[in-house]
Amino acid sequence: MSSLLISGGRVIDPANGLDAVADILIVDGKIAAVTPVGTGNSAHRSSEPTRDSGYIDATGLIVCPGFIDTHVSLREPGFEEDECTATGTAAALAGGFTTIAAQSDTHPVVDDRAAAEFIRLQAERAKNCRVYPLGAVTKESRGEELAEIGQLVQGGAVGFSDAKRAVANSEVMRRALEYTRMFNRPILHFAMVPELSDGGVMHEGFEATRLGFRGIPAAAQDIMTGRDIALAELTGGRIHLMCVTTVDSVERIRRARARNICVTADVTPHHLLLTDSVMGSFETMYKCNPPLRSQEHLNALIAGLQDGTLSAISSDHQPLALEKKQVDLDTAPFGICGIETLLPVCIRALIEPGHLTWPQLIARLTTGPAEILGLRHGTLSLGQPADVTLIDPLKTWRIRASEFYSRSRNTPFDGQDFTGKVVTTIVDGEVRFIIDR
């Protein structure tokens, strides 16, 4: 029997409504006890220490369920110059993530069972965090014919997504929602009207006009969000909208959820902290899809997070080899390498200004995404696999892209100081990531 005691931390477990200083005892990879300190029966006293038992002093730390990311691009196979499963999952651990859903946008696309099983195999070999594949909605993500969704489910797919390619044909999307319904799996959709967004570089607004860039209007997302909600209502299927960025999309999702339509949504950290005002630097690290919007949109995203309209925060991790970004803005691909910097960026955007409490933030990183993907993870309930993240909320540190676990360096936050850092990440009771305090 192996055991690990995490002692004296502020334990935040949104699923169980817990926010108290407590000890957590892990035995054989499972949560064995969560005992608030000062109740007189502290966990380490009620358990028998064994020879290989471990102990972590978590005084001053936040102890919470391991984070879950609903869509992470691991880039393997096909784009190993950007990332591979081993580096991407190591980056996930460093970011406090114990479970990620791997995007289907590899080459070839994850549109058959073998491809899904390859993702799982590589994850097992890497032995970092848990990885669940997302299968493509359509063959080669071309938006034309449905992929072999049933076989992808058998291969381990927890949801379906054509990554950054919108399923533009409404009839195809309707069939996809109907078909996935019989497996009770969500479709993670990138809601964007291609004709309105193609060729765009940044948010359509005054900044784009001033700088002379073709814009991606908010309406490109709003129109598709509205369509997706209508199709979810029509079919009873589960739609999850990735990377919501606009006032109107948040409002449409809010109203649909009030009417009990099966729609969920997530938002990225960079859309919560940055606006299109940074684009005047012409810096390609800011180029992401959807684009950074204006302050009014950012405010709506925060309101959506506060009332739970947006129930998850996703890194939307898009690692890209440096040379791909060392070009002009029109040529540079979209994407931010974000999983390692998610927490400090969220702290700056949400905790420091007082927009969210710690339990609310952790819920958006644990129970929210778990519910979207239909996973049991994201809690510290007794008997659960012990996936735990320890955070030093006051540690000030400088983000250095050169020290990323990810193979890529494309972050707009390189060289900037942030507060709050993941210090330990535990999967199945095993410490997989730890830094010296």
Partner: protein, 322 residues
């Protein structure tokens, strides 16, 4: 005449000329005054000077251009500089060399000033951060074309003696026009009123935040404008059709004899060229008494001589300070 002997009337202090947006009225006047000085001492740009002797000016054009490149080359040579032309085709870029690699290669050859044209906004800005040489933006996508803005302003000033208080209409494809943006910034800084006029599909609505008036009816505004600048319809930059037909465009926004007769008697007609005859303007207007199209070409040479000189002086100041 030495570089240090060139009289500079006001503040400059810029290592690069990337756009007009962030220049002050005083800085703009410094360029305009120097262009006027060159106009006088070279008899309209026809005589050579040697103020840039020993300096190398590289034309780094990632996008096709004959007029602007020729104008810059000529300006550099009139000042005694050596020039090298480097036309980068997009195919060589797709082989893996980034445009920054290309520029650094050129700089390693001992270039002092780089004149850069690129199809993407901000490309010269990115270059300027990676080079020690001074960078002159010769047009970055649909963002800015500062020397064109300056030469348009110089041309108006030469014929009216001032900019403040004048009303200038920019007509045509505002959305895809770098010339429009540079004109707006420069003219506004110097106190002109600017009207942008064209099809609604080619005028982004946020443009009013640059302090311009938006008009869709050319005939309505014509009686109150001092100058029309007829922007070329950028067929190559447009994705899809922004107006129903060229005939309809010419009908609504083309400058023709009828419109000239309804405009102010002393209306100035500018067009950055190359012009599409029969689209933005008819031959009657292009070749008529109101047209300053060829003056613009000559003035472009003077403006570019002034800009090259100011950047060369700034480069020398920095080198001496080191």
């Amino acid at each position: 005449m030495l570089l240090t002997e060139i009289p500079v009337s006001g503040p400059w202090g810029e290592r690069h000329l990337l756009g007009l947006e962030h220049l002050t009225a005083d800085q703009l006047n410094t360029v305009l005054d120097l262009a006027r000085h060159f106009d006088e001492i070279t008899l309209g740009g026809s005589q050579r000077l040697d103020v840039l002797k020993g300096l190398v000016v590289a034309n780094l054009f990632f996008e096709n251009s004959t007029r602007t490149r020729t104008s810059f080359s000529l300006a550099a040579r009139r000042l005694g500089a050596d020039t090298v032309d480097f036309t980068a085709s997009t195919s060589s870029l797709s082989k893996g060399e980034t445009f920054i690699d290309t520029a650094q290669t050129i700089e390693a050859m001992g270039v002092d000033l780089v004149v850069c044209r690129h199809r993407t906004p901000g490309a010269p800005h990115l270059l300027s951060r990676n080079l020690k040489a001074g960078v002159l933006n010769a047009g970055d996508g649909t963002h800015e074309h500062p020397t064109q803005g300056l030469l348009d302003i110089y041309t108006i000033m030469k014929h009216r003696g001032r900019i403040a208080g004048l009303t200038v209409a920019l007509v045509g494809d505002i959305r895809h026009s770098r010339v429009a943006r540079s004109n707006i910034h420069g003219l506004k800084a110097l106190g002109a009123e600017v009207i942008v006029c064209g099809p609604a599909t080619l005028i982004p609505s946020d443009i009013v935040r640059l302090g311009v008036e938006v008009a869709y009816n050319l005939d309505d505004i014509l009686p109150r404008v001092d100058c029309v600048n007829l922007l070329r319809v950028q067929f190559e930059r447009q994705r899809g059709a922004f107006f129903p037909s060229i005939a309809e465009y010419a009908h609504l926004f083309g400058m023709n004899g009828d419109r000239i007769r309804r405009a102010r008697e002393n209306l100035l007609v500018l067009a950055p060229g190359p012009i599409n005859r029969g689209v933005e303007l008819t031959p009657e207007v292009a070749d008529g008494p109101h047209s300053l199209i060829l003056n613009q070409v000559t003035n472009g040479l003077l403006i570019r001589m002034a800009c090259l000189t100011l950047l060369a002086q700034e480069r020398r100041n920095i080198q001496e300070a080191c």
